[in-house]
């Protein structure tokens, strides 16, 4: 019973947001407390720290049907664990470039630092990413397998 089923035919972007517990998840909660509105196309997945963000989770999400991935953490210098987001920053800088290099649209993998107070920034970021991905259309990664020009299957 998902949204795609309730509105048959209409494609809606699916976005997963990996949010650190201490900052962005708190910011997302604050957006709720302030009754802010943002598109329902985003699902927040809670991780303890952006340093816990394994690029493999993002690849899995993109592979299995998400149209975009958002990774969020505390602002550099504010990490609850003091250094987690510094490592995340390096890793994500490299990973994002690699994804784009091999052809992914930059909008489909984004990283943002959003603090526990930045409810508005959370709402705006989510809205922006959803709209950007909506403009790009669905992500089709699982092309039919083509082996040296030959159709397989």
């Amino acid at each position: 019973m998902s949204m795609v089923e309730t509105t048959p035919g209409a494609w809606e972007p699916k976005i997963v947001a990996f949010c650190c517990h201490w900052c962005t998840y708190t910011g997302a909660d604050l957006a709720g407390l302030n009754r802010m509105n943002y598109p329902a196309n985003v699902r927040v997945l809670r991780i303890p720290c952006s340093g816990r963000m394994n690029p493999q989770y993002a690849l899995d999400a993109l592979n299995k049907g998400c149209d975009g991935v958002l990774v969020c953490g505390c602002h550099p210098g504010d990490c609850h664990y003091s250094t987690g987001n510094y490592f995340a920053r390096r890793r994500m800088l490299v990973f994002k470039r690699l994804l784009e290099y091999q052809g992914l649209e930059p909008e489909r993998f984004q990283v943002r630092w959003i603090s526990g107070a930045e409810a508005g920034k959370f709402r705006d970021t989510v809205t922006e990413v959803v709209e950007q991905v909506r403009a790009l259309g669905p992500l089709h990664l699982n092309h039919e397998l083509v082996l040296s020009g030959m159709e397989v299957e």
Binding site: M1, G32, R35, R43, P48, A61, C66, Y81
Partner: protein, 660 residues
């Protein structure tokens, strides 16, 4: 097969307003391994919680999804609830149906669809969790204070007064730190020795306090409640059990050594007490300069000692003891201005002195017995120039930060000089005058009344003309070029971290900021804690501050220590990293990345391919690990996993989310 129970809350109309709660429960019942799903008006209420408990029992549930408000609100409530049931409190996943669903969407269809997805994600994740147990960490009810300045003494006294044993490690031969070198303290002008030395003797004689002077921390192992600290007490060459502190030995020593306590302005013997009221009130031998120890000549001190307390063959004493908590009060030193400021003579003019030298000159127990006399010729200076911010707020030459106390002691020095030399003139070069603090601005105003002339600008050059020091500068308020013929120049130099604090910090996993000050756990909310549980900060070690602020912090750190030592046991957080030793190849990538120094490499024996082999694997210290999970990502093999947020559970959560 797991048996999952799903509990969905109406939260009055908070969730039910935009989520069809009954429909969510209906879908939840169809999910794999879900044996029961129910709704409740207010799950967090007593009847709500009782309902959850009853259902757990009735359906033999072994893990739980709570579709409620944010886990930031009630995760702990649910854990406590589960602690009363057969379900492990960590076999829990909270689906955030309120803050991140019902409250941010208006359309009930949209809200319901999203709530269903959130439940699916939580069910997928909880299905892969395993029970976790907190372990009880015993607490050793003793505290270690590193540094015997005013911060360390205050912290030690507060902790000791609460009934706990405290050891104070002091690198110098006496307690007192920088404060005991000062003459008077702003803004009340009480004599520093009069308020500092009583603290010293109180520390020295307190039944709960052990002072290890002339000693340094050599290494630290362990974690909160259980730090094994190795302390090296340097050889003093004097048996303190025999020594009466009569001081006869110090009068007989023929050697003269530069006296650092007097800021190099006098000499002391090789066997010496740092100053008259030193605590411990007994001398040590400075081995480097002792003729007996270096050349086996002399021995005058041993001959005169009435108790035979002097032993030239004394050795360093290294002891390891366990402490529950550590307070770092390592303080500061003054920046070495000489190489940085060649335009101020770079140290070649003896009458260009630092603020601390001025403190000794004006101090009745100092080298001039309180008469302000120039170091070069012993004459009383009539014109004195004080330059503030030497090294401070000067990122090109010194440090970028403000040293905070200099505006006030600069004003104090001007006041003291004008007081002692009534016909003198005093010029103060400043960038800004910062006097926040009770009675501070009034003190500054009084100094202006005394006749100190404040000039806004830096001195650009000091050179010698005859026996005077010509200071060139600009008064930036009038744009006038200033030339002052001074008899003495006082540089109010920047505070920088004490030497060796970098090493101490890395030993304890306490980070240093770009200027090497020790970093607090949170700039606003945890100002005296560090990122290493059980290690606290006080005083200038954390950043420049004056005496009242230092004492406040010392008290705050002490109260944190007392709070910690008050527990017999600490509950460990079980959501920490775990090593799969079969996968770990021991390359140590995780060791470097851990902010808590919680991971070490150990040699372990394994039986592999029917052979006994020894190989290196990582090992996580459960007392240090805080569960950030940074190590898990750096481990390519996935040998490091974070309990409660395992790779498997997160991957299934992602998979569930993709199915929407």
């Amino acid at each position: 097969m797991s048996r999952i129970g799903v509990f969905i809350c109406y939260c009055g109309s908070n969730i039910a307003g935009t989520v069809d709660v009954e429909k969510v429960a209906e879908v939840a019942r169809t999910l794999p391994n879900v044996v029961h799903a129910e709704t409740n008006k207010y799950t967090c209420s007593d009847p709500g919680q009782a309902g959850v408990k009853a259902a757990i029992e009735k359906y033999n549930i072994d893990r739980v999804v709570m579709g409620t408000c944010s886990p930031r609100m009630h995760e702990l409530t649910w854990r406590k609830l589960l602690a009363d049931t057969p379900v492990n409190p960590y076999m829990l996943e909270v689906a955030n149906l309120r803050e991140q669903c019902s409250w941010v969407h208006k359309d009930k269809e949209v809200g319901t669809a999203k709530a269903i997805d959130l439940i699916k994600m939580a069910v997928a994740k909880v299905d892969k969790l395993s029970p976790l147990k907190s372990t009880q960490i015993p607490v050793t009810k003793r505290a270690l204070v590193v540094g015997g300045g005013i911060a360390g003494m205050q912290a030690a006294l507060d902790i000791a007064d609460a009934g706990y044993q405290v050891t104070v490690v002091e690198r110098e031969t006496s307690l007192g730190g920088k404060m005991v070198m000062l003459d008077k303290t702003f803004p009340t002008m009480d004599c520093s020795a009069c308020i500092c030395t009583p603290k010293m003797s109180e520390v020295g004689s307190h039944p709960n306090i052990t002072v290890k002077s002339y000693a340094e921390v050599e290494s630290v192992e362990g974690y909160v409640g259980n730090f094994d600290v190795t302390i090296r007490e340097k050889a003093k060459y004097i048996d303190y059990n025999l020594c009466t502190g009569c001081g006869a030995c110090t009068t007989k020593c023929p050697t003269k050594v530069i006296n650092n306590f007097e800021q190099g302005m006098s000499a002391r013997p090789a066997i010496y007490k740092m100053f008259a009221q030193a605590v411990p009130a007994k001398p040590v031998i400075d081995a480097e300069h002792c003729r007996k120890i270096q050349e086996n000549k002399c021995g005058a001190c041993a001959k005169i000692c009435p108790t035979g307390a002097i032993h030239y063959d004394d050795e360093d004493k290294v002891t390891t003891e366990r402490y529950g908590a550590i307070v770092l009060t390592t303080g500061y030193q003054l920046i070495d201005w000489k190489p940085l400021y060649p335009e101020y003579g770079g140290g070649k003019y003896p009458d260009v002195i630092t603020g601390l030298q001025f403190e000794r000159l004006v101090n009745a127990s100092g080298p001039t017995e309180g008469h302000i006399l120039r170091p070069s010729d012993g004459k009383e200076p009539k014109n004195v120039v004080i330059i503030k911010c030497v090294g401070s707020r000067d990122p090109h030459k010194g440090v970028a930060y403000c040293s905070r106390a200099c505006c006030m002691y600069g004003a104090k020095h001007a006041h003291q000089f004008l007081d002692k030399v009534p016909d003198g003139r005093c010029f103060v070069f400043y960038m800004d005058v910062r006097t926040p603090g009770k009675g501070y601005d009034e003190f500054y105003m009084n100094t202006l009344q005394d006749g100190a002339q404040y000039l806004r600008g830096r001195v650009s050059k000091i050179y010698k003309e005859g026996d005077r020091l010509v200071c060139l500068g600009e008064d930036t308020l009038t744009s006038a070029q200033i030339r002052i013929e001074a008899d003495m120049v006082v540089l109010e130099t920047a505070m920088v971290p004490a030497e060796g604090v970098d090493k101490l910090g890395s030993m304890l996993g306490v980070t240093r900021d770009k200027d090497l000050w020790l970093t607090e756990a949170h700039a606003k909310l945890r100002p005296v804690e560090t990122n290493t549980a059980g290690v606290f900060l006080a005083g200038v070690a954390q950043g420049p501050k004056d005496i009242p602020d230092t004492v406040c912090q010392a008290g705050a750190a002490a109260s944190k220590v007392i709070g910690l030592l008050n527990h017999d046991h600490l509950e460990s957080n079980p959501q920490i990293s775990r090593v799969n030793e079969a996968l770990c190849q021991g390359d140590g990538a995780c060791v470097n990345i851990c902010p808590y120094h919680a991971i070490t490499l150990v040699q372990k024996q394994f039986r592999e391919n029917s052979q006994k082999i020894t190989r290196t694997v990582a090992s996580v210290n459960p007392g240090l690990c805080q569960g950030c999970g940074a190590c898990t990502v750096t481990c390519r093999a996935g040998a490091m996993d974070l309990l409660g947020y395992t790779n498997e559970s997160l991957m299934r959560e992602v998979d569930a989310l993709c199915q929407w």
